[in-house]
């Protein structure tokens, strides 16, 4: 794995972490909770080397 690809995986993990954090902190809006989880799915699939 090249350095740039590795950095992209790090960025992906960071954004996935942010989304999880936002999901955990969201208190009222169910729409936002769903949105955070939906955006999270492709990032997790990429981190797991699935797609």
């Amino acid at each position: 794995m090249g350095v740039i690809m590795l950095l992209y995986y790090v960025i992906t993990a960071f954004i996935a972490g942010l989304l999880l954090w936002n999901f955990a902190c969201e208190k009222k809006s169910v729409n936002d909770m769903i949105l955070y989880l939906l955006v999270l799915i492709p990032l997790v699939l990429r981190l797991l080397s699935v797609k």
């Binding site: 992209y8 955990a24 989880l37």
Partner: protein, 387 residues
Amino acid sequence: MTRERWIKSILAVLAVLLMLAGGLPLARHRHAQVPVVAGPGVTNVIKLSEFLPALRGTMADTNVYVLEGQEPGGKVLVMANTHANEPAGLLAALIMIENAVVEKGTLYMIPEFNASAGRNTKPGDGYPLYFDIPTEWGHKRFRMGNRDASPLEQWPDPDVYIHYPDRQSLSFNDVRNTNRTWPGRPDGPRMEQVTFAAMELMRKNKVNIAIDMHGAETMFPVTNCIVAPIKSSKIATLVSMTVKAMEGFDNHVEPSPQNFRGLSHREIGDFSDTLPFLLEAPIPFLDQPTGPKTTQLLLDGKDAFLLSLSKKKKLFVPYDENGWPMEKRVGQHCSVTLEILKQYSKKNPETAVRVRGVPKYADLVKNGVGHYFHDPSKAEKKSVFYE
């Protein structure tokens, strides 16, 4: 538990279920193996990474089946699944691996040239993940791949792919297209490494002929043809005329454009002594104005929209109610490949290549593709390889 926590728990469980429902079939597809029974002609199976160690252990590494004849002669490289969504080439290559016997010369067969693309999918276009070919011993299952390698092997794509070494600007995703990354370089992006390794195979083994088997849309002018640069055009023309006269199917010759870089039929000829040929068989499945992209459409090539367009003369191949079935496409690849070897051998007796056991167009149309595949459960374990 508070109401908020209940909602979050339910949503999290739903998200995990959604991830599993979407991800598991894709993960299974990426790791699915297709057994191949090496036929009596296979003398060795090596890895492409032998020609570039950087590929070793990656999903881009792939099997190279060597079929060496008793008598020394010319050397031929046959590649399929350069575009893994054009599977007629893959089936033709596997038929050759399972049945061909080389009497003179050597064949190098790479059935999954873009091995990563063969494990990539195109869910956005509704591609099926697999297709089955009926055989006398059951169904043989193949992965349906994508045109480009998976980003899991090579990420990110650039905004524009600058071809090496010509510096021509190509589409961003062509950086993962192994028919745009020729001749490649050892320290370039992964797909440039794949094409570089194949160039090394050809240069080190002094390969005389390279054949790259593809499929093209019926609405695309470069279909049902042999694409050849000037140095291969004489043989290509003789092949085209012979298959028309002797076997009854059209396969015209298209010149390889000098100013369009990165293609196998261009760069192999320019960067080695090898004569390149790219074979295109029509594949209605890839045309845009069709019905759903089903395995049935992939196998029989029958589509009502294409039929209607054919009547309006919008297609570049003859098309009727019979569609363009897989056995015709695979048969064309087999016959054209055999004819290239024959015509080359006539002109170059010192490096001739003689092969027997490979079915021709008429045989495949009569018996079907599955007739030529052997049952891996009944074969000796040492002769079963996985793609």
